[in-house]
């Protein structure tokens, strides 16, 4: 009865039909999908410009069927500012990892938020530098063993895990800041709603929207995919609580 079949699930149109290079258990594919679904649902694919950053997510343009500019390490919010100021009617988003956004690009993200740039920022926090091979990230947890903290991250000398969603929520230019996770099905669904909202706000010209996504890097953590998911809820969430830290969407007309 083929003619009575209905499509209940399909690949988002904003993604290209290609296999990804991500490691098994990596959550970049999940987050890519959530972003693509939001673009599809909001019918934004044709007017969206993505800003790829340096790290595992640099190959954004291999997967998203949209216009993309590749930014230098950490500079995606500045590049996005330039693009958005030229094309204020387009939808511009950055997709950045924790080293990119919270270390080398700290100035760019804070000032883009502070200016209230009409951007959507997807921040993937997996507490490590993935592409370079598992070095300490600004979000690495206390005691976390990485290739550059072989004795564990020492909070006295290596600094503390930085909470970007809370930090950016303090800025007057930030209109929305939230932290979600993609470690379990119900949280993936919730993350999808939040990401959708962050794009919807830009569509409504509501200002700077920031979504931090807790994600796994099983390869560099040295864990199986399932154990990596477990680490997100057991170890990361106590340090990086989920929630919405600022939401001015109701305040917008």
């Amino acid at each position: 009865m083929a003619d009575s079949m209905i499509t209940v699930f399909e690949r988002p149109h904003s993604l290209k039909p290609v296999p990804s290079h991500f490691c098994s258990g990596c959550h970049h594919g999940t987050v890519h999908r959530l972003v693509a679904e939001a673009l599809d649902q909001l019918e934004l694919q044709q007017q969206t410009i993505g800003i790829a950053s340096v790290g595992c997510s640099v190959l954004l343009y291999e997967y998203f069927d949209i216009d993309v500019v590749e930014a230098p390490h950490g500079r995606a919010p500045a590049v996005a500012t330039g693009v958005k100021r030229v094309h204020p009617d387009s939808i511009v988003f950055t997709y950045q990892g924790d080293g990119d956004l919270a270390a080398i690009g700290t100035a760019e993200i804070i000032h883009a938020a502070n200016r209230g740039e009409h951007l959507t920022v997807i921040f993937v926090n997996n507490t490590t530098y993935g592409m370079t091979g598992g070095q300490m990230a600004p979000t690495s947890l206390g005691g976390q063993v990485t290739t550059t903290t072989p004795y564990g991250r020492d909070l006295e000398t290596d600094g503390n895990p930085i909470r970007m969603a809370e930090l950016l929520a303090l800025l007057d230019g930030t209109h929305f800041s939230a932290r979600v996770s993609v470690d379990a099905p119900r949280r993936v669904a919730q993350a999808g709603k939040v990401i959708h909202k962050a794009f919807e706000m830009q569509k409504n010209r509501a200002g700077f929207a920031f979504v931090e996504v807790l994600a796994a890097c099983p390869t560099n953590w040295g864990l199986s995919a399932l154990d990596a998911n477990e680490r997100i809820s057991q170890e990361m969430m106590p340090c990086f609580p989920l929630g919405t830290f600022k939401d001015l969407s109701g305040a917008q007309g």
Binding site: D67, E70, R75, A78, T81, H87, S90, E108
Partner: protein
Amino acid sequence: MNKRLFVKGNEAVCIGAIAAGCRYYFGYPITPQNEIPEYMSRELPGLGGTFLQAESEVAAINMVLGASAAGVRVMTSSSGPGISLKAEGLSYMAGSELPAVIVNIMRCGPGLGGIDASQADYFQAVKGGGHGGYHLIVLAPDSIQELYDLSMVAFDLADQYRVPAMILGDAMIGQMKEALIPHPYQPLAELPAKDWSVTGKGNRVQGNTVKSLFLQDGALEAHNWRLHDRYQQLKDREVRCETIGIDDAELILTAFGGAARIAKTAVSMARQAGLKVGLIRPITLFPFPEQVFRQATERCRRVLCVELNNGQMVEDVRLSVDRQADVRFYGRPGGTGSLPTPEELFEQLQKHYKD
């Protein structure tokens, strides 16, 4: 004829940029180029453009990168220390084939250095400055009029070859005022459409990607050969150079930018004193006027290179003449009171003319 304006060099470069259709400027304050962001902040909003004072030079050049990728004419400006910070972005822009105009009103260095006239950033401008092996188009105006004219040329060349263009000035021409005739903008050539820019995919079958990462077998090498060909085309077609009295010269003085202004008076003093001295003033520092030097030194076997540094362009002069002439150097490396006078250069000409 348009009425003559009386403006600072730093303003002339802005007037030229705006005449050429530049409506986007991203920058960060640094002396001695502050009149540039100040002028743009006054003028661009009224023209429907965007002026943005960035949080750093690093951010500013990346905003330029974004605006250029989005398909518009865009400019930034700075001085040595700020250009160092922009080097990363410039390398990415060169790799991503993004046109833009970058103005460097040089100060003396290294480090914080000083704000006096200097040409300490020749190497930085001409030899790359950032990583990865690339070139910028480098234009060196020596008057307020030329700052205006070359500002327009810089946008055209950048768009035509998809290579970022730098206007390399010094505090002398940036800060001095002269008359300027604001000729209307005439594009150098029919410029290619920016069909590579990001606008949102719209009805295009494929999304546009602006990038400098090439991972597939042979892709990066092919890209680098393509850039190399572009640089070769610039060398073949776009050399600009002013020469004065080189046909009968026994000694050729060469200088660029502000140093060339002082040199012109010294050359004229030498001619009045009966010395056969000529001048070669490179206007494009990249592409460098190699052939002009090569041909001029087939007859005249002595060149004196004068710079406001310890000797940078002199290396390109020596490479150009390829040992067929004796290339000498005189320089003052910057700081308060270090600007040479025409009388001082005239003395040097007399000295090098004789022995």
